[in-house]
Subunit: 289 residues, 2 copies
């Protein structure tokens, strides 16, 4: 990392353990360029799995779908992915789902077993059992082309939701895993309160919801209602013990909200850390905090 005023130093390295100083490496990771300029990194690689075996479950409604998610986690099944789409997102993206969506489905779970051929097959069997209860259908695509088609479809969900009305405001909140159904229901309730079409999808295993409100491009009044809905959404995430940003950072947009989320003494410590690293405020000004 290049630290102010322009010194190149190594923090971290190809070591599995190091407790000689404070963990500045982790402080720099996720700092969005506000503490220094990271110019190189060592990455820890894991062996590629032999096979990827997805399991897909369709449900009617959030309670049945969230119960399936909870069974996977509560059974200690070490799946490589645990994704969900709630009704609105599934309605927007389901038309292109490989093999089609059962008529009354309004909740989708996509998970994946990976590892060695034998281990992935064994894990998949347990995942199928966990997903089966209350499911409208459970599917296990296996041919590499079918597996690739599933994940290609998943990558397109955000675009399909945007296409529904031409624009959207999509957030990235996190809640403890056991509060995830409340996060999904709460997103819909906030939409109703502000007269907005709402939906969510995301990385259920991480408690990470992409809570979304659809908007018509150019409708300034609707966009304003969206902003109030987002305020409510962040308040919901905090009430559930979560965070206003799971993976997409703070940047400019969430900057004003960080202080609501963190204790005043933590906000002050972060500002002091910023000053210690960057006394002249030159690194990515106006971002993160």
């Amino acid at each position: 990392v290049v630290l102010a005023p322009g010194e190149l130093v190594r923090v971290g390295g190809p070591l599995r353990k190091d407790v000689a100083g404070y963990d500045l490496k982790r402080l720099l990771i996720g700092s969005e360029g506000t503490l220094g300029v990271i110019t190189a990194a060592w990455l820890r690689l894991l062996p590629a799995p032999e096979v990827f075996l997805p399991v897909v479950g369709f449900y009617d409604g959030i309670p049945a779908g969230a119960a399936a998610l909870e069974r996977v986690v509560a059974s200690g099944l070490a799946v490589a992915a645990l994704e969900y789409l709630e009704g609105g997102a599934l309605a927007a993206a389901g038309g292109a789902f490989p093999g089609g969506v059962p008529p009354s489905a309004s909740f989708l779970v996509v998970t994946e077993a990976d590892g060695s051929r034998e281990e992935a097959a064994r894990l998949r069997e347990e995942v199928v059992q966990a997903l089966a209860e209350g499911a409208l259908a459970v599917r296990t695509p296996e041919a590499p082309a079918d597996v690739a088609a599933l994940w290609r479809w998943r990558e397109g969900v955000s675009f399909a939701v945007t296409a529904r009305r031409g624009s959207k405001v999509s957030e990235d909140v996190v809640v403890p895993f056991d509060r995830i159904a409340e996060g999904m229901e709460g997103t819909l309730e906030i939409g109703r309160r502000h007269g907005l079409e709402a939906c969510s999808w995301g990385h259920a295993g991480d408690g990470n919801l992409h809570s979304t409100f659809l908007v018509t491009p150019g409708d300034a009044e609707e966009l304003e209602r969206c902003e109030r809905a987002v305020d409510d959404l962040f308040a919901l995430a905090l009430r559930l013990g979560g965070s206003i940003s799971g993976e997409h950072g703070v940047g400019v947009l969430k900057r004003a909200h960080v202080a609501d989320y963190l204790a005043p003494s933590v906000v002050s410590l972060q500002a002091q850390i910023k000053r210690a690293f960057d006394p002249k405020g030159l690194f990515n000004p106006g971002k993160k905090l």
Copy 2:
């Protein structure tokens, strides 16, 4: 965590993702009580493995033993442990090794496959293959009593080495995994240079060596030579791209050495972080930095 002057705040929590602020949680972990008082923690639990299947390999010398360690890692075998004892440590502790040590063995590798019954068995087979080349013997204890006896013996290694002369100076350095043989050979060379009996054992998979010099209790002159040997050992760890502390922290003893290991600008940042958290210097004074 209780921050100065006495405020209880939550940092982190039962969330898998959170990028709303700087990672103060990781800054506090390993800070040895110098930034605040951690009063509670959420722990992420993993499902307990069904079985533990250790594999033990005996070798004649560091080159053969280190080559076996490298084959395990280079094969991408996800073992739960990868421990080693070099000659001096094996001589001190080998007498109590369950089942005995082959006559010409001067290097021991202890590794373990775990997981489901089938997966652990499959992994063990691959580990046996990786350890077999150049081995004097490979053993696979399987009965729960034998597995427990092996790890109980491993727990006693440090005491057995102490018992050899009545006292020891044992360090906790880390090097990149691919430099571990140099760390072992270097430890012996430093011992020879200072007229000290040296040995090492440790967590090879982490590149973590417990490099040790034996001393006679009450021999002040020998202890002084030990201190110079430890200086050389830390210099060796740094030359190999490692760290002076892998898991046992800094505390009082290594405090004077930290500045040799970290860049001056990093030392200054750490001091500023300490001042931001603890302006009156009340938290665990005289430790860590």
